[in-house]
């Protein structure tokens, strides 16, 4: 069972701390509430893409132009983005932090979801360093990932092993008046 909770506002605070400029993403079920939190953060520009394979090249272009982007896609999308990871991530030595939604992560119980089963072997196969984040208690791994990417000039993954918590709305705080 998952004991901790991962709050989007705490993740966004980490991204602000790292001076992230752009969040290149194709939303997935694990990160839905993260998207809402990011839209409320004026210092980070959200760049939606149509297919996960676009995310790494768009981020590479932003980095070349002097920006500090990250990407956020689901594990299934990472597999689709394999050639981008090879050619414009690993191949060029891109220091990029990749938030990967860990769909089907077995911390929720045994799963037949191959998207989950394949993720960590896939990252090992591609020699991508990674950290798993399952709750707010794990957020010290965010600066570690940025530091590792910068030191190695390689992409580093943060596998998000739980759904982001829904932040309470003003209405619910005020007693559900609506």
């Amino acid at each position: 069972m998952i004991n901790g909770i991962l709050h989007p506002k705490n993740v966004v605070a980490q991204l602000v701390e790292q001076n992230v400029s752009h969040y290149v993403t194709l939303p997935d079920s694990e990160t839905a509430h993260m998207y809402e939190a990011l839209m409320a953060e004026p210092s980070i520009t959200v760049v939606p893409v149509s297919r996960e394979g676009e995310a790494i090249p768009v981020a590479a272009g932003l980095f070349i132009a002097g920006q500090n982007p990250i990407i956020s896609i689901q594990n299934a999308g990472l597999y689709e983005a394999g050639d981008s990871l090879r050619g414009l991530g690993l191949g060029i030595g891109l220091p990029l932090v990749m938030f990967i939604g860990y769909r089907g992560h077995n911390r929720k119980g045994d799963t037949p979801d191959t998207a989950a089963v394949m993720l960590e072997p896939y990252l090992h196969l591609w020699r991508v360093d990674y950290f798993v984040i399952e709750s707010d208690e794990d957020l010290d791994r965010v600066p570690l990932a940025f530091d590792r990417a910068k030191k190695t000039n390689q992409p580093v993954a943060l596998a998000i092993g739980t759904e982001y918590a829904k932040e309470p709305s003003i209405d619910s705080i005020m007693g559900g008046a609506k």
């Binding site: 676009e54 090249p57 590479a60 980095f63 070349i64 132009a65 220091p95």
Partner: protein, 202 residues
């Protein structure tokens, strides 16, 4: 029908200090005419991703015009990027699509269809401008106005195919070229030389 050389020659006349990202056959002609190799990126090792890389540069350096010299076969592999670019709407982005109807680098095999009108596709996605040229005079006379209008614009150029029958050399040096160009461009755009070695080629 337009030749690759003429298209690149004309485009280079109006380039100013734009960044260029080229892929496939037109790259060799662009490299021959370009006077600013420090602003050129040749994507030979990531087919189809020229438009996405160019979009990132355009968003990150909004004061600089970005010319993407794409190919029809490459764009078909990343067709969703048309919608992504239209949604991001960078007004400094100019997307040239060299349409020869074949996979030239691999010997000239036909595309799944040659009926795609890339200019109309871009217009349907929401590009600000879309144009299609099949003669060099029209391209030459129209480019100054196109490049002075805000993007994103897609400029489709119908070119005579030049199928490659001898394959493409793959050497350490040819694979190291793009990582080196990317570092040089970052240094040029930011004034900072802070992107060290990384990956297998550097």
């Amino acid at each position: 029908m337009i030749t690759y050389f003429d298209a690149c020659r004309v485009l280079n006349q109006y380039r100013s200090d734009a960044v260029s990202i080229s892929t496939m056959t037109q790259t060799k002609y662009w490299n021959d005419v370009s006077k600013q190799p420090d602003l050129d990126i040749s994507i030979g090792n990531a087919m189809s991703k020229a438009s996405s890389l160019a979009l990132g540069i355009a968003l990150g350096a909004p004061e600089r015009q970005v010319l993407c010299l794409d190919a029809d076969g490459s764009l078909l592999m990343n067709f969703g990027s048309l919608a992504t670019i239209a949604g991001a709407a960078p007004n400094n982005f100019y997307h040239f699509v060299f349409n020869n109807g074949i996979y030239g680098i691999t010997g000239g095999q036909p595309l799944p269809t040659v009926e795609v009108d890339y200019a109309k596709a871009a217009e349907a996605c929401g590009y600000t401008g879309s144009y299609r040229f099949s003669d060099i005079e029209s391209l030459d006379s129209s480019l100054p106005q196109i490049l002075s209008n805000p993007g994103p614009a897609l400029i489709e150029i119908i070119v005579k195919g030049e199928p490659e029958h001898d394959g493409v050399d793959q050497t350490w040096e040819s694979n190291a070229k793009m990582p080196m160009q990317l570092r040089a461009l970052r240094k040029n755009l930011t004034g900072v030389d802070d992107w060290g070695p990384g990956g297998p080629f550097l």
